[in-house]
């Protein structure tokens, strides 16, 4: 059986798995960005309890394994009355996990915006919220986009673990093909290529493009 025959025979599974992976990635990325923004800004709050909540979140999700977190949220949380279906549990957990890394990126980028920008915004009598939203965050965003590019690739690769709570993503379908055919090299080889192409030719160029657009917006390009 040639590789092309293999692809023809299993393309429907590979395609449906890829689409689920794509959905998991996009949703996980959205959760990660939101969690990173919220936790990163909370870490800069003047109130200690607010900072404390963000620190606890970041420590837990950065300090423990993503797989354990997935099992916790999917299998253990229902015991406390919170049940998520496996698809939701998958992208929420991946998003929260990488959002914890992103939170540090947000905090660092906001802190690195020159103090003069805060002062100029205050001198215009802008409220703290407007200062952050209109003046500081847009500038912080430019600084943190390159590390976010890395993080996005990590998120994509991290979604492979949702197969272990039976989300029918690319990894899950690949394992199914492998179990049915024992064509391990072809099956896992295909997954390898699809993940790589996805990261290298979609996620990375998209982030680079965003970097360029933002650089232009700030007048640096």
């Amino acid at each position: 059986m040639s590789y092309l025959d293999f692809l023809a025979a299993h393309s429907d599974r590979l395609i449906s798995g890829t689409l689920i992976t794509l959905a998991q990635f996009v949703l996980a990325a959205l959760v990660a960005v939101a969690a990173a923004l919220i936790s990163g800004l909370m870490k800069l709050a003047p109130l200690k309890p607010v900072r404390g909540v963000a620190t606890v979140y970041i420590e837990i999700f950065r300090g423990t394994s993503l797989l354990v977190q997935l099992y916790w949220i999917f299998f253990a949380l229902p015991l406390f009355g919170i049940s998520l279906d496996k698809f939701t549990a998958g992208f929420v957990t991946v998003g929260l996990c990488y959002g914890a890394y992103g939170g540090e990126l947000v905090r660092g980028a906001v802190v690195s915006v020159p103090k003069g920008q805060w002062e100029a915004a205050l001198a215009l009598n802008m409220s703290p919220l407007r200062r952050m939203w209109r003046i500081i965050l847009p500038q912080a965003l430019v600084g943190m986009l390159p590390p976010w590019g890395n993080l996005m690739v990590e998120i994509l690769k991290g979604t492979a673990l949702v197969a272990l709570i039976s989300v029918t993503d690319l990894m899950f379908e690949t394992r199914q093909i492998n179990n049915n055919t024992f064509l391990s090299a072809q099956a896992f080889g295909s997954a390898l290529i699809i993940y790589y192409v996805f990261a290298r030719f979609m996620v990375t160029p998209l982030m680079r493009w965003l970097e360029r657009v933002m650089a232009r917006k700030i007048g640096r390009a």
Partner: protein, 272 residues
């Protein structure tokens, strides 16, 4: 330090009330006293220049007035009302955020390093405050911004980002940005210190025009002695956190009375 608040008036009234008053203002950083019981009045429409050696507290005076720094004791008044404090049940207490926001709208400031918003064009910088803070319509804000950019000679560069502008041009946009908020008091903090010598006159020219045409109250910290002399109504020489000597430019530059003023001025003249 305890401060008996009852000795500070709740408001300043009368025709001769100053636009800005520092009354007994002290500012400390840890053990270091930056300003020591400062008393300073600036009349409406007056242009007061602050000179002095670095570390004498000049810039701190402006930063306190812009509420970028807190004060440790005393009261600052702007336009008849306390800025750092507010009235509660007939006595002055520390101002809350709302009071400071209301008072801050009377004050505009230009900085040594311009601090333009890099992600906005010259026009965007000048519209940001009016639209976001004053709630003006975009059209109205743009008209006002263009008028001011024209006044500072930057109308042609309205669509440029700060990164594309020279220091002198950035500072002129920064002046327009501050004026767009229609402040009663303008603060200039060493606005020419970061500029190349050949563009300093662009900025001093704008400030000179402001002094001539507008009824703004202005406080300026500068090292440009010639400029200070030319445009100031009054010059204050700061030394070690207090005013060592003040007077008209002629008095202070031509016949300073205090030894420290003489030493400072001769050192500055020698450097030039």
């Amino acid at each position: 330090m305890t401060d008996d608040m009852s000795r500070y008036p709740l408001t300043l009234e009368g025709d001769d009330a100053p636009m800005v008053r520092f009354q007994n203002v002290t500012k400390k950083y840890g053990d270091l006293t930056v300003l020591d019981r400062l008393d300073l009045d600036v009349g409406a429409g007056e242009m007061v220049t602050i000179i002095g050696p670095s570390g004498s507290g000049k810039t701190t005076v402006l930063r306190m007035l812009m509420t970028l720094e807190t004060i440790d004791s005393g009261v600052i008044y702007v336009d008849g009302e306390p800025l750092t404090h507010m009235e509660r049940n007939g006595r002055l207490v520390r101002a809350n955020a709302a009071h400071m926001r209301r008072m801050r709208s009377k004050i505009g400031m230009c900085f040594q390093h311009f601090n333009l918003f890099p992600h906005m064009t010259a026009l965007g910088n000048c519209m940001e405050g009016p639209v976001q803070v004053l709630g003006m319509s975009k059209k109205e804000a743009e008209e006002r911004a263009l008028e001011l950019l024209d006044m500072v000679g930057m109308a042609e560069k309205r669509d440029q980002h700060p990164a594309r502008l020279s220091g002198g041009q950035q500072q002129r946009v920064a002046i327009a940005r501050a004026l767009a908020m229609r402040p009663k008091v303008m603060l200039f903090d060493e606005v020419t210190s970061a500029l190349d010598p050949e563009v300093i006159s662009e900025v001093t020219g704008v400030i000179r025009a402001l002094v001539d045409q507008h009824n703004l109250t202005m406080l300026m910290v500068t090292h440009q002695m010639g400029f200070a002399r030319e445009i100031s109504d009054r010059v204050c020489f700061f030394f070690d956190g207090s005013i060592e000597e003040q007077g008209t430019p002629e008095m202070l530059f031509d016949s300073p009375e205090k030894e420290r003023t003489q030493q400072f001025l001769s050192a500055v003249l020698e450097a030039n």
